[in-house]
């Protein structure tokens, strides 16, 4: 394809991908009276922050934001720690049954969680965790753990074992070598993995809806799904809440982009 033609296609596609984001932000910025009119305004003439104030102070928004952050961060932290331990074992150590464990992680990663809704519900009820944020933490931990273990195994594989061996020759113990050499090099991998785990848990809706019924314990996706009850036809407020919901995910995404480009062990062996 000739380049100018290709560029035109590319820009049209960019507009297609950007428009909903653009529309979310501009709708959130428009004053109340200008949204529900028949007027045609692709560009906002007047800009206001009042919708953000409405969303922020809306009954249930702050508590669901806090709940989402609590649940997501706890689950991701647990998966990263437990996943890293498993990843190191799978990638660095030789032992009987290793292949079986690797396969277990791979299969567990494919587990169709949505189809486990009913047994999970019954199990959390038996454990008296129904209506508790702990139940969501456990589910999100289970959803993200196999992925974390599997991905971190890849990142650990990517760090040459020779680096650790060199440190051990220089007098480090095995733990010292891991802590001083592998762990720092694993930084970008840990960040990338935890961001993807974060996004998964941040997005989750089905379990959040089923395991939590009371409004003061619900997470942001459930709060937003009821936006018509919360906001009525206040689309400006609903859009502002959506923007606030998107910001953490977007920030984390941009962090990974930069870290991924930086390359995990670029130049480590040369030095």
């Amino acid at each position: 394809m000739r380049r100018p033609v290709a560029n035109v296609f590319g820009l049209v596609l960019a507009a297609f991908f950007a428009f909903p984001t653009y529309w979310m932000i501009t709708s959130a910025l428009k004053p109340k009276g200008t949204l529900l009119t028949s007027g045609y305004d692709l560009v906002p003439f007047k800009v206001t922050a009042v919708n953000f104030v409405t969303a922020w102070t809306k009954q249930g928004f702050l508590s669901s934001l806090a709940n989402s952050l609590t649940v997501t961060l706890t689950a991701v932290l647990a998966s990263i720690v437990v996943g890293l331990l498993a990843a190191v074992a799978m990638s660095r150590l030789r032992f009987r049954g290793r292949k079986g464990f690797v396969l277990l992680m791979l299969v567990a990663q494919m587990a169709p969680f949505e189809a486990l809704l009913i047994p999970m519900f019954l199990m959390m009820r038996d454990l008296q965790l129904y209506e508790h944020l702990t139940s969501l933490i456990l589910v999100y931990f289970a959803v993200t753990l196999p992925f974390c273990a599997w991905t971190l195994r890849g990142f650990v594989n990517g760090i040459p074992i020779e680096l650790e061996e060199a440190a051990m020759v220089d007098g480090c113990g095995r733990w010292g070598a891991f802590q001083k050499v592998t762990l720092p090099l694993l930084g970008p991998g840990l960040v990338a993995t935890s961001v993807f785990a974060f996004i998964t848990a941040w997005n989750e809706f089905l379990f959040a809806k089923v395991l939590i019924r009371s409004q003061d314990r619900e997470t942001l996706p459930v709060f937003l799904s009821g936006f018509q009850t919360a906001f009525g036809t206040d689309w400006g407020g609903a859009m502002a809440a959506s923007v606030l919901f998107t910001v953490p995910a977007l920030v984390f995404f941009l962090i990974v982009q930069r870290k991924m480009v930086a390359g995990v062990t670029a130049g480590a062996v040369k030095g």
């Binding site: 394809m1 590319g10 709708s27 437990v82 519900f121 019954l122 919901f245």
Partner: protein, 331 residues
């Protein structure tokens, strides 16, 4: 203690030549000193993950099968009764005409969404190669925004864009001269609702597909294209002879992954119309929620879940077979 250990484990290794080079003896002694702890270490490291997986994934998988053979409604749940009904739950759903409608709808929806997003992802990946750098960056950033947007946020925006009275889409269509779209409701039928839901899913699925396939395309050695150019191959010929064989396996992988993801979509379908109007946009994931949780027929809901799992397991099995074939050396 070290000495004892050394002699102990040295005894069975009788076939080892007596005159070992010093370096090897040193290494062997190192290894033996770790002893029990070193041998247990991998299992200790793996224990938390394995316990969590068996408890939080393995047990529910067994439990969903067991539950599907029980009559478990709210009454039995509160009384703590266990009533076995054999295949009654399956008989109930399989004889229900609505269940078959829902299953067929789910499969058609999944195939349509996956096919559209994979083909579009591939075309965009191919297009990205011939873009000027700045256009490529603009496209990549916009795709990243679409990808990063939380599902509930993007669904809310789509509902607003497709709003009957004040939605920007209807306003634009009227402006372009299609007056019949004034006040057109996009959510008055199941097919129309699922089309909008499908568009939302495709829109968010393409970035992952395009980025992965673009990375795959960049990995194709340049001299293959030069060779094709010298041989005077046309664009289509080059694609079929050079590009296609190189990215075929990657394309299969992402197609499988997309199928797994799109088959069990719940959030998007639920927030648009809760499976409506009158159940016309209900898929299997929505059905198991409606039967199992909303109506409290846990046994019947579990039977629907089992059907979902069987379909997904067939797909997963295919996917794993391919994955293991390519990663065999790494395992």
């Amino acid at each position: 203690m070290t000495a004892v250990k050394t002699t102990e484990s040295a005894a069975p290794a009788g076939s080892v030549p007596p005159a070992l080079p010093p370096a090897v003896t040193g290494g062997a002694r190192e290894r033996r000193r770790g002893g029990a702890f070193d041998r247990a270490l991998p299992y200790l490291l793996l224990a938390p993950a394995v316990i969590a997986i068996l408890w939080l994934i393995g047990f529910p998988v067994v439990s969903v099968f067991v539950t599907s053979f029980r009559q478990l409604n709210l009454g039995e749940l509160f009384r703590g009764e266990i009533v076995w009904t054999g295949f009654d739950n399956y008989a109930e759903i399989l004889q229900d005409e609505r269940f078959w409608d829902v299953t067929v709808r789910t499969i058609v929806f999944t195939v349509a969404v996956v096919a559209t997003s994979v083909i579009a992802g591939l075309l965009i990946a191919l297009l990205m190669r011939s873009l000027s750098p700045w256009v490529r960056i603009v496209l990549q950033v916009t795709m990243l925004c679409a990808w990063a947007m939380p599902i509930l946020a993007s669904a809310t925006v789509y509902i607003w864009m497709f709003d009957q009275t004040y939605g920007i889409l209807n306003k634009t269509l009227v402006k372009l001269g299609f007056d019949s779209f004034a006040g057109h409701s996009w959510f008055s039928s199941g097919a129309s609702t699922l089309t909008v839901v499908g568009l939302l899913i495709v829109w968010q699925a393409i970035p992952f597909l395009a980025f992965s396939l673009y990375a795959g395309l960049l990995g194709i050695p340049r001299d293959l294209y030069e060779a094709a150019g010298i041989d005077g191959a046309s664009g289509v010929q080059t694609f079929r002879a050079v590009t296609w064989p190189e990215i075929k396996s990657l394309l299969m992988m992402v197609t499988f992954l997309s199928t797994l993801w799109d088959f069990k979509v719940f959030a998007q379908i639920w927030v648009f119309k809760e499976g409506g109007p009158s159940g016309e946009s209900t898929t299997l994931a929505v059905l198991q929620y409606l039967e199992g949780i909303a109506k409290g027929h846990f046994g019947v809901g579990a039977a629907v879940s089992v059907v979902m799992m069987i379909i997904l397991a067939l797909l997963t099995f295919q996917y794993l077979r391919r994955l293991l074939r390519t990663e065999e050396g790494q395992l």
